[in-house]
C-alpha cells in the first residue's frame, strides 16, 4: 500500500467503531457509554467523508454536518437525562437501572 487510499480511512473508521461498540457493551457507567456512542458516530463520519473524498462529492460532508448537529442535540438531551436519572435513582450504572423490567 504505497499511496494513501480510502481503505486507510475506512480501516480507521472500522477500528474506532468497533472500539466504541465494545465500550458500549462492556462498560456500565452510563457516561462512558455515552462517550463511546460519540466515538461510534465519529467513526461513521469518517466513513462518510472518506467516500465523498474518493468519489469527489461534497454530499458526504453535508451529511456529516447534519450528523454533528444531531449529535449535539442528542448530547444535550442525553446528558439531561443522565442528570435527571442521577437525581431520581441515585445511580448512573446501567446494570442497576431496570425499571422497565417491572
Amino acid at each position: 500500500m504505497g499511496e494513501l487510499g480510502v481503505e486507510h480511512f475506512l480501516s480507521l473508521s472500522a477500528a474506532l467503531f468497533i472500539i466504541g461498540m465494545m465500550g458500549v457493551l462492556i462498560r456500565r457507567n452510563i457516561l462512558i457509554i455515552f462517550m463511546c456512542v460519540e466515538l461510534m458516530l465519529t467513526a461513521a463520519n469518517i466513513s462518510l467523508i472518506a467516500f465523498g473524498w474518493q468519489m469527489h462529492s461534497l454530499d458526504g460532508q453535508v451529511f456529516v454536518l447534519f450528523t454533528i448537529a444531531i449529535a449535539a442535540a442528542e448530547a444535550a438531551v442525553g446528558l439531561a437525562i443522565i442528570l435527571a436519572l442521577s437525581r431520581r435513582v441515585h445511580t448512573v450504572d446501567v446494570a442497576e437501572i431496570h425499571e422497565l423490567r417491572d
Binding site: M1, G2, E3, L4, E7, H8, S11, L12, A14, A15, L16, I19, M21, M22, L25, I26, R27, R28, N29, L31, I32, F34, M35, C36, L39, T42, I46, I49, G52, W53, Q54, M55, H56, S57, L58, D59, Q61, V62, V64, L65, F66, I68, A69, I70, A71, A72, A73, A76, L79, A80, I81, I82, L83, A84, S86, H90, T91, V92, D93, A95
Partner: protein
C-alpha cells in the same frame, strides 16, 4: 513512504490509542480527556481528506461544546453514583469482545473486497478551489440542495434544547404544574389529602394514581372522587 501516509499513520495510531483509552480508563474524567484527544486527531484526519470546514466544526462542536458539557455533567453527578469499573459481568465482557472481533473480521473482509460502484461526483479539488474553498462549496450546497434538511435540523436542535431544559429542570417546578391538572380527591373538601396518600408517595411525585401504597390505602378507606379541579369538589 510518502509524507501524507506517515502523517495518517501517526494520526490514526494516536486516535486508536486514545479511543482504547476512553474504553479502559477507570476514571470517567480520564475517559473524557482521551475522547478530546481522539477527536482532535479525527479532525486532523478530516483535514487530510480535504474537509477543513468539518474539521473545525468537529473541534468546536465536539471538543468545545459536547465534551465540556459532558465534563460539567460529570461534575454534577454525585461521585457515589458512579459504578466501580470492575463490577461488570465477565460474560458481558467476553461476549462484547468476541462480537467486536467478529465485526472487525467482517469489516476487514468487506474493505479488502470492496468495489466502487456509482458515479464520480463533480466536486474535484479544482472545482472546490474555483468557488473559493471547502467552506464556500459546502455553504453553496447547504443552502441550495439541502435547504429543507438544514431547516429541519435547526428545528431538531431547538426541540433538543427545550427537551434538555425540561429534563434537567429541578422537579419541584414540575410538581406544581402537574398538581394543577387532574387530581383525585380522596374525600377531602379541598382536593388532595396528602396525609391520606400515606408515606408511599415519594416527594415530588404527582398523586395521580401513582404511589402504589397511597392509592391502595385511599381506595380501601375513603371515597375516591375524580375531579378536574380541586375546587370543584365540595365535600363527601
Amino acid at each position: 513512504m510518502p509524507w501524507d501516509l506517515i502523517i495518517f499513520y501517526m494520526l490514526a495510531a494516536v486516535c486508536i490509542a486514545a479511543a482504547l483509552g476512553v474504553v479502559v480508563a477507570t476514571n470517567p474524567v480520564h475517559s473524557a480527556i482521551f475522547l478530546v484527544l481522539c477527536f482532535f486527531n479525527v479532525a486532523g484526519v478530516f483535514v487530510m481528506m480535504g474537509a477543513e470546514f468539518l474539521a473545525v466544526i468537529q473541534v468546536i462542536v465536539y471538543t468545545g461544546a459536547i465534551l465540556v458539557l459532558l465534563l460539567f455533567v460529570l461534575m454534577l453527578v454525585n461521585p457515589d453514583d458512579l459504578p466501580e469499573f470492575h463490577q461488570g459481568k465477565p460474560v458481558q465482557r467476553v461476549v462484547g469482545g468476541l462480537l467486536g472481533l467478529i465485526l472487525l473480521l467482517e469489516i476487514a473482509i468487506a474493505i479488502l473486497n470492496r468495489e466502487v460502484v456509482g458515479v464520480t461526483g463533480t466536486a474535484t479539488p479544482e472545482a472546490i478551489a474555483a468557488v473559493g474553498g471547502n467552506t464556500q462549496a459546502i455553504g453553496r450546497l447547504l443552502f441550495s440542495d439541502y435547504l429543507l434538511a438544514f431547516e429541519v435540523v435547526s428545528l431538531v436542535l431547538t426541540v433538543g434544547v427545550i427537551g434538555a431544559i425540561v429534563l434537567a429542570l429541578p422537579e419541584r417546578l414540575g410538581e406544581k404544574v402537574v398538581q394543577r391538572k387532574g387530581t383525585i380527591s380522596l374525600g377531602h373538601a379541598r382536593g388532595v389529602d396528602m396525609e391520606a396518600l400515606g408515606e408511599g408517595t415519594p416527594e415530588g411525585e404527582a398523586p395521580i394514581l401513582s404511589g402504589r401504597g397511597g392509592f391502595a390505602k385511599a381506595s380501601g378507606g375513603r371515597k375516591l372522587v375524580m375531579t378536574n379541579d380541586p375546587d370543584e369538589y365540595t365535600g363527601a
